[in-house]
């Protein structure tokens, strides 16, 4: 059918818009989900299971909770440490490195932007996968860079194809290991072979946002890898395993020379007082929390795998607190139908997995509620 053609621009605005870079004009604004009370009112819900953002359903570790509870309101009148001084000390102690090798940001998304700004200029290119964490691609595109997207192979990053995509203009390769949303991962040998084959003047961002969810000894430790490969920057976050997503604390670690370059383009004072305090406390008390989270995630994964198998549905999951399943209806329709039953999942169309949804792995009650709603929707046909 034909469509209405509406041009919102006035004459002068039109001329102004003509001057905006095409890569900005073409960019899609990300629209975050609305707050729970708003969604619950819209859908007439008394309870909402939010299973869309891979948050840790257990919340933060005990010491982090205590730190937050003890935060005096008067402390908020003062600026935080501009470079997260104490937290970097704690990170250095944890990983046996210098505090100067760490850079803390308002979530890892802020650090992604800082890395791209630091190393890339007009005409440069990035390489990443086409079905991975979207922010690498977004920042690359709205920065006007060529962002070369490499298809996955069997739901996993394809090292050969990624290497083929690298050319003389490539400044950064983004590797999400384990990959969000597939949970697939490269083992030590695969990562090592990849890094050996890559030109040494290409920066590799090794995003390990979900690495704490595994204890598999074959999983590479970025903190160790970066010692042998000075072009590697490791990203980690307190938003997933550490249950501090609401405070937005992420960090990178790398060789000091490289980190100093990123620091030039990094916004100081961007991490708030509560986030710095809670993250530092979380590091001091994480063993029990990590074990409990891993157990919860493993149980939830088994439960959902069984449910999907019983329905004959294809599913994909590996490391991380999430699993994907493919259905025979549009994921965006499934989202709306699940929302009407009080369950919120992540649609995967924007990840280029049409008809897949991703579900955060949480406690039994939430998983059971999801399966009940999911079966009910599929039964409706």
């Amino acid at each position: 059918m034909a469509t209405p053609h509406t041009d919102p621009a006035t004459w002068s605005t039109s001329r102004l818009l003509d001057r905006i870079p095409a890569y900005v004009r073409a960019f899609e604004c990300y629209v975050p989900s609305r707050p729970d009370p708003v969604l619950m009112r819209q859908y007439g819900l008394s309870h909402l299971y939010r299973l869309n953002n891979n948050e840790n359903a257990l919340g933060p570790p005990p010491l982090a909770r205590e730190a937050l509870a003890a935060l005096e309101s008067g402390r908020t009148a003062q600026y935080p440490s501009g470079d997260s001084y104490n937290l970097r000390q704690a990170l250095a102690a944890r990983f046996g490195k210098s505090p100067e090798q760490f850079l803390v940001g308002n979530g890892s998304t802020e650090i992604i932007a800082a890395v791209i700004k630091s190393f890339c200029g007009p005409g440069d290119a990035l390489v990443t996968a086409d079905q991975t964490f979207a922010v690498y691609e977004w920042v690359g595109r709205f920065s006007g860079l060529e962002t070369r997207l490499v298809p996955l192979r069997n739901h996993a990053l394809d090292p050969g194809a990624l290497l083929e995509a690298v050319n003389e203009r490539t400044k950064i390769v983004f590797l999400c290991n384990p990959n969000n949303p597939t949970g697939s991962w490269w083992n030590r040998d695969t990562l090592e072979a990849f890094l050996e084959s890559l030109p040494a003047d290409v920066v590799v961002v090794l995003d390990e946002a979900y690495r704490e969810f595994t204890e598999d000894s074959r999983f590479p430790d970025g903190m160790e890898v970066m010692e042998r490969h000075p072009n590697v920057l490791v990203f980690r976050t307190f938003s997933k395993m550490y249950g501090l997503a609401g405070l937005r604390v992420g960090y990178l670690c790398g060789g000091q020379e490289l980190v100093d370059v990123v620091r030039r383009c990094h916004i100081v004072y961007s991490v708030n007082v509560a986030g710095q305090m809670a993250a530092e406390a979380a590091l001091a008390d994480d063993a029990g929390h990590i074990a409990a989270t891993r157990a919860m995630v493993a149980g939830a994964r088994d439960f959902l795998r069984d449910a999907f198998d019983s329905l004959g549905l294809e599913h994909v999951g590996g490391i991380g607190n999430f699993i994907m399943v493919r259905t025979a209806i549009p994921d965006t329709l499934l989202y709306r139908q699940l929302m009407r039953q009080g369950v919120m999942v992540r649609t995967m169309t924007a990840f280029r997995f049409p008809n897949w949804i991703r579900i955060s792995l949480a406690q039994d009650e939430a998983m059971e509620a999801f399966v009940r709603a999911f079966r009910a929707v599929l039964d409706q046909g």
Binding site: M1, T3, T6, P8, F27, V31, L333, R340, T349, P354
Partner: protein, 434 residues
Amino acid sequence: MRVNAEQAVFLELPPEAAFLSLAVSAAETAGKAWDLGPGRTPRLALAVEEFFEYLRGNIPPGDTLKLSLRRRGPALRAEFRFRARSLDLRALNFAAGVAPEDGREMGLLLAARFTDRCRLERPGGDSFVLSAEVDRDYPQAEPLTQHPRLQPPYAPLDQPSGDALRHAAMLAAGRYPARLCPHGFFEPGRLLDMVAAGLYEVLVLADKAGRPAGIMLWRSPAGSLSVFFSGPYVLDEARDPAIARALTEGFLARVARTPAICAVSERPTGDLPAEFFEPLGSVGCTQGGERVEQQAFYRSLREDEGASVWAHPDLEPFLRREYERLAFVREILPVEADGGQPHSLLATDLDLRRGMAVLRPLLDGRDLAANLARHVEALGREGAPDIFLHLDLGQAWQAAMSPALLAAGFTPRLLLPHGATSDMVVFEHGDAAH
């Protein structure tokens, strides 16, 4: 005057007769410079002349007329932007009652008839945009009716060559009914120009030997939240469903991270894999003298946030039923018929090749019922048996029109989420609509 790199010319003109020749000359020069052709350029010049003459006497004192001339793929577009606080624009109705003694109104009607597309838009407030487009002529290509047996695997061509695109278009034109094919399938040069200008995006799959295996195309009109797709067109002898599936998945992957909120079928073929889309319903269309129902398919590309829409009580039962069926959360805000000013204004998109016209309200008015009746009569006379009206539920004044539409023989057929500034209802005229 300003010229930019996107092949556009801008003029800001005082509304004085002395500047008419400058405006017309600019249109003629643009037509010549941008290869519109000697047979088509005068049509654009005529539109500019008639628009200028009409507008110069009607814009507020002290205002200027802003004319832009742009090359848009196969077309040249002349566009006037102006303010019109008290301007009586009823003559811009396709079916305006023309008084022979009123030369100005006759001129606008002529302009509408002699151009390929003529459109009035109202970006907001008292701002209007009056535009006309004239297409270049292209040679016709004979559709290819022999479809080879192809060999998997099928892979997308990164940047299909002109020859690959031309070949795929001719194969598709030879397999699918004309109503399911864009005009460019019969005039591949037009298709190539549209793709080069970004008016269409295209995905071509090739088989193991590099032969075209399938094609899908889509367009994202400026200001629209929807992407409108045609296809998938499967080109191998055996009509391998894997090709349709790969085309659909490839299309969705390409639009997934664009500003589009949803994908809507414009020409859905029978090869469309149903599991990727939601059936919206159907509208009637005339094919070979007979009416057939054409299904419409929809897909959100993002998680829906919910919204509010305006609706007259007459339309509310239809909306509630459709929102429930499609599982969209909407707050329906009541609105009553108003009527407002004396004269209504409807924009008309007329596609005579498809025998179809789409009306869009631009101004409400107390003569709406009569205006609708005039349009139905005139469009039928012009050879457009399929008449639709798109009602934007994001505009209270439009939503208030539904009683008049129902009384004029229009029936709500489709609810299109995010089809306009908010959701859109597609009304169809005629006895066949039910």
